[in-house]
Point group: C2
Chain length 370, copies 2
């Protein structure tokens, strides 16, 4: 006889939403030469971050401020909102878990898109809620169908990413604003804007009015290059933001993470430069795709979905061959989307390695098909 997991926990698989790059390296016994699969920001973080952390090294023994006060004030000032509109957490992943826990329970319905962020789905399953998925349409999340699902199913939560992962597609701000307006007021919209800083200004709807049924998710892991420190935040109405205080780990956002995020937020020039590098890299991926007879989908993110021109099995073979050539990328898994591979932007050297490896991968995938 041993301790028993809860019935819900018993029903869950031991799973990981993404098999990590290091796990893959350990499995193959070979390191990747290019790390272009995690939508990380290989252009790195502002040097001010490391400077601030070095300055604060003598405070490594301090628990973080449980209210992330200074960071929330800085984010509020930056965004023209109040600190009461901001919850800071251990990355968007951590915040998504808390949102699901707060608003969905066994028996609840949650709506997302088929092929959208698996870590959100992981949390939905983890709290025993039922996930209803809506197919993408023309490689975008289907706002009309999502709205229809919201009206019909009255879900507790609806998840939408804009710009989208894994396709890099987006809806213009005014259409997202209209979607928010039309959404039933008792449905919580989790609007994941992890890639927002990479998008043209016309993509992100205004933060005002702040609606009681919308949470905007932002992160320091992408444009700010701080995936290695783990900090995300949610923007919403004070009553929703306060609800996090019921369940969050109050001392979960470490002192050094707060130091790092504050420093990153203070370096606008660096952020702008990263976005410029990113745009150039995105264009380079378009060129590489064309040179190989492939179509790169338009992207408002730091990655590009490349249509490999055939089916999911073909794209999977391309990915596998790239992995054999020690190039780490990922790919969408849902029907239709799965014809693509997903390549993150990164430093020139790594993109060159990808460019070199791609023709061989395509040839290998083609010959295997015959």
């Amino acid at each position: 006889m041993a301790p028993r997991l809860t019935r819900l926990a018993q029903s869950l698989p031991q799973t990981v939403p993404f098999v990590g790059v290091e796990t893959q390296e350990r499995a193959s016994g070979r390191p990747f030469r290019a790390r272009l699969g995690g939508n990380e920001n290989g252009f790195g973080a502002s040097p001010r971050v490391a400077e601030a952390m070095t300055l604060a090294a003598g405070e490594m023994w301090k628990y973080g401020d449980s209210e992330s006060h200074d960071l929330r004030q800085a984010l509020a000032a930056r965004n023209g909102i109040s600190a009461e509109n901001i919850a800071v957490g251990e990355g968007i992943d951590g915040l998504l878990g808390l949102v699901v826990r707060l608003f969905a329970e066994p028996g609840s319905t949650v709506v997302s898109s088929l092929g959208a962020y698996p870590t959100f789905n992981y949390h939905v399953a983890g709290f025993g809620a039922h996930l209803h998925v809506v197919p993408y349409r023309d490689d975008r999340e289907d706002l009309e169908a999502l709205l229809q699902a919201a009206r019909t199913l009255q879900p507790a939560i609806l998840y939408l990413a804009n710009p989208d992962n894994p396709m890099g597609s987006w809806w213009p701000a005014d259409e997202v604003a209209a979607f928010m307006e039309a959404l039933p007021e008792d449905v919580l919209l989790v609007l994941d804007e992890a890639y927002g800083e990479f998008a043209p200004p016309s993509v992100l709807p205004a933060l005002h009015p702040i609606r009681p049924n919308v949470l905007r998710m932002r992160t320091f892991s992408k444009a700010y290059g701080l995936a290695g420190m783990r900090c995300g935040y949610a923007i919403g109405a004070p009553e929703v933001i306060r609800a996090f205080d019921k369940v969050r780990n109050h001392f979960g956002v470490s002192h050094m993470t707060q130091v790092a995020a504050l420093a990153a937020l203070g370096d606008d020039a660096f952020l702008k430069d990263v976005v410029l590098q990113l745009q150039a890299c995105r264009q380079e991926l378009v060129t590489i795709s064309r040179d190989n007879g492939l179509v790169a989908l338009p992207s408002a993110t730091n990655f590009v979905a490349i249509d490999c021109g055939s089916d999911g099995a073909f794209a999977t073979r391309v990915l596998r061959n790239l992995a054999e050539q020690q190039i780490f990328i990922r790919k969408p898994m849902a029907p239709v989307l799965d014809r693509c591979i997903r390549v993150s932007c990164g430093p020139e050297g790594e993109i060159a390695l990808f460019a070199e490896a791609l023709p061989r991968a395509l040839a290998a995938a083609s010959s295997a098909a015959q």
Copy 2:
């Protein structure tokens, strides 16, 4: 109409297990001169940590290894166990939340001691389980009564800290081992050893045999001085350790946190030195107590509970006056224990400030009583 919290979330207060030191400073408008309330390690972290982080600063953009492979290997080697016996998480606080989520559900009973770690209780409430508390006996958690409660109530989880927080007391290893042996096999013992590195070797039971119903909780936040990076780990049987994979944030332990913890673990000489400084400081707090006609309770931790010689109201007045003098400490809140204040060890200068402030605080508390 707005999105509705789950019934469970509705029932929870917006609460924080501890009001943070920075929150208190903002409320009073004055910084503390001595930070001796959080059981942090004011002696700091190994300089190797900052060095390793500086070396790894160029990797700040990388998500952490989702398996914390290198850290788990190092911990396994250090402890003579297998990496399969180790789960790494966002501090013990984060791991406690996961344990409660995995093993307790609404309707479950969980046993702890009255006055023991409030963050554990916070998680128990947060997942809707029922908390049954057993009073301390002679300022120690009452093993016999806890065992009795385990037998009678058949709880899902039983929490025990050894050495104990907030009293600093402990049970010898052989008595804890006997307790584990006697515990019903279907009760999960969460044995919190956050302060274990400060305790004499005779306090921590051997890690072997690793029992399927025991999880040993350890941290880098105390002896290793890394509260500002947030890393804890659980040691247990592989089947229990694997269960974390069902619900944990797989990428929650950041890359830089793993770098920091590995570096800290590699500096034994520093750890030994910290423990020596801590022992000297503990002795100093005993002397200061005696000089003020008070009794410092024996402690196997990095803090000392000082019996203020009267009741809880008196000790609260002492704490409040110390706060007015800008000295941050905490105190136990449960009956009987609450006659004490709890003072963390720290650098000489801060202890001197406490020594200077204490007589005034005692005088003020006495005069207020008349």
